[in-house]
Symmetry: C2
């Protein structure tokens, strides 16, 4: 089983409108809802790849109930979410059908009490012992200590389970110091962590801070991985036009999927880039298209860098 | 008891953002939720004025559960909503704090089955016999017959209960023919019904179509009422700057409140204009400020028109 942690789960709502006009009234043509938050997205992709996944984190209130209900319909994902008294957040993507552009609204997350955080830690401690890998993903809701990911990384390492951390800001800075196997920042998150805008020296700096491997997403240019075994850049076969929502989460799923199968870095990066590409090209934001995945997988270029 | 009917109830969600930028990502600073749909708004204002109110219509799904939960916290409003299998809609108002402007998104309503419509009719038949007045408000969700309001008007009239109809388009056209006591269109709805943009001849046309009294909201110019007893225009004491959301629903509540107390048209219109004004000036959209209501009430001007 692969364990994904989403402390700030969300209900991702998408509105399609013919055209977004500020200060006007819009009849929404279509509404879609799905469980969200980065770790939940990772769980969905891992499950689609055939892995057994357990999803933990917090959910609460009526929005949280909908998240759980929708998650229950996802095969191979076990719901181990911990209830919180405050309500889970929604995110809203308003898609302008005339341009294809998206306007995003993110509600604040629920306030987590210290008793709820303790309950989560106990649950996580139990789950991590049965996991082959752990993904710690996304922002921290209010009330969760800023050093939360450092605690979770250490617990996974103590249990001998490899852990991937995908977050930003102070949560990333603290989490890196606990020595996770992999971090997966984008270029902006890496620059914020290290103070350097040049990816290669920045990834090396991030490794010195504690990460065993740093996989940086370079958007359309693919992934740059700095590891104990070497440094590689993995690039998609062509420039991809589409919706990048969820592409980073698909990359995380690709890295973990290959990791638990014992694959080397070349295969991990190939899978991550192909899943990202298949997500960018999917007709529904955040989903991935299995045919594109198989097709792209054969033509990802992995070259030695640095 | 006053009965309000909201066939297309909603959860009204408001997001406050520092500034709305199309195609950007926004952190929502504050989220508020309240039960909505025009009849629910009327019920809330009537209850605030001290009336006992019963609210019926349809609610369903997780959004419907939240509507009922919030409604249960409103004193003097009895929940007699009929469950439907499909989910109730949300409306979203995004308030741009830099300009005060609002961008509105309205989800489609739930699909009502013919069995659900029959269940509603039976429930309405029971409720209307115990009512002193009925308000039929807002749009029809998909599946409800377009002649629905005509059926509901006739049932109320058969029970000897006065009925106010506040809707638009074909639902209004059909409903008017069943001879409701009062309709309360705005200028655009009245023009659509009658084909005339001149309010005075248009209200007379609407009376010929079946309405006993036509109370047209003229926005900042107040209300124009054409009745069997005479024609009046009621105007607020001064131009009001604020949010007009819900002002029409407050006017409906004012008309009904005065009607069930046996007040004459002058008092009905005074109350309706003062409540509208107190709604426009309230800090929260759709609420009314009781102090402004009492203050404005003393200085509404009602003059004979036509």
């Amino acid at each position: 089983m692969i364990l994904t942690v989403t402390l700030n789960t969300a209900l991702d709502v998408t509105y399609r409108v013919p055209r977004l006009l500020p200060h006007a009234s819009h009849r929404v043509a279509a509404v879609t809802e799905r469980p969200g938050g980065k770790g939940i997205n990772v769980a969905r992709v891992l499950a689609a790849l055939g892995h057994e996944v357990t999803a933990t984190g917090f959910t609460g209130g009526p929005v949280g109930s909908v998240v759980r209900e929708l998650l229950a319909r996802t095969p191979r994902v076990v719901d181990a979410l911990v209830p919180c008294a405050d309500g889970s957040r929604r995110t809203l993507a308003v898609v302008d059908e005339s341009s294809g552009d998206t306007t995003q609204f993110n509600e604040p997350g629920p306030l987590i009490t210290s008793a709820e955080w303790s309950r989560f830690l106990a649950q996580y401690g139990d789950l991590v012992r049965g996991a082959r890998a752990v993904a710690l993903c996304g922002s921290l809701p209010p009330g969760v200590p800023v050093g939360a990911y450092a605690v979770l990384v250490r617990a996974a390492r103590a249990a001998g389970v490899p852990v991937l951390l995908d977050t930003s800001g102070e949560a990333l800075r603290r989490g890196v110091a606990a020595r996770p196997e992999i971090i997966k920042p984008n270029a902006a998150e890496l620059a914020e962590l290290t103070g350097s805008r040049d990816p290669l020296p920045a990834t090396r700096d991030a490794r010195r801070r504690g990460a065993h491997a740093v996989v940086t997403s370079l958007g359309p240019d693919g992934l740059l991985a700095t590891t104990a075994e070497g440094t590689w850049q993995a690039t998609p076969p062509r420039a991809l036009a589409g919706n990048p929502t969820g592409a980073g989460d698909s990359a995380v799923a690709g890295l973990l999927s290959a990791l638990v199968e014992g694959a080397d870095w070349q295969e991990r990066l190939t899978r991550a880039v192909a899943l990202s590409a298949a997500t960018v090209l999917a007709p529904v934001a955040g989903e991935f298209d299995p045919r594109t995945y198989e097709e792209v997988r054969g033509s990802v270029k992995v070259t030695t860098a640095g």
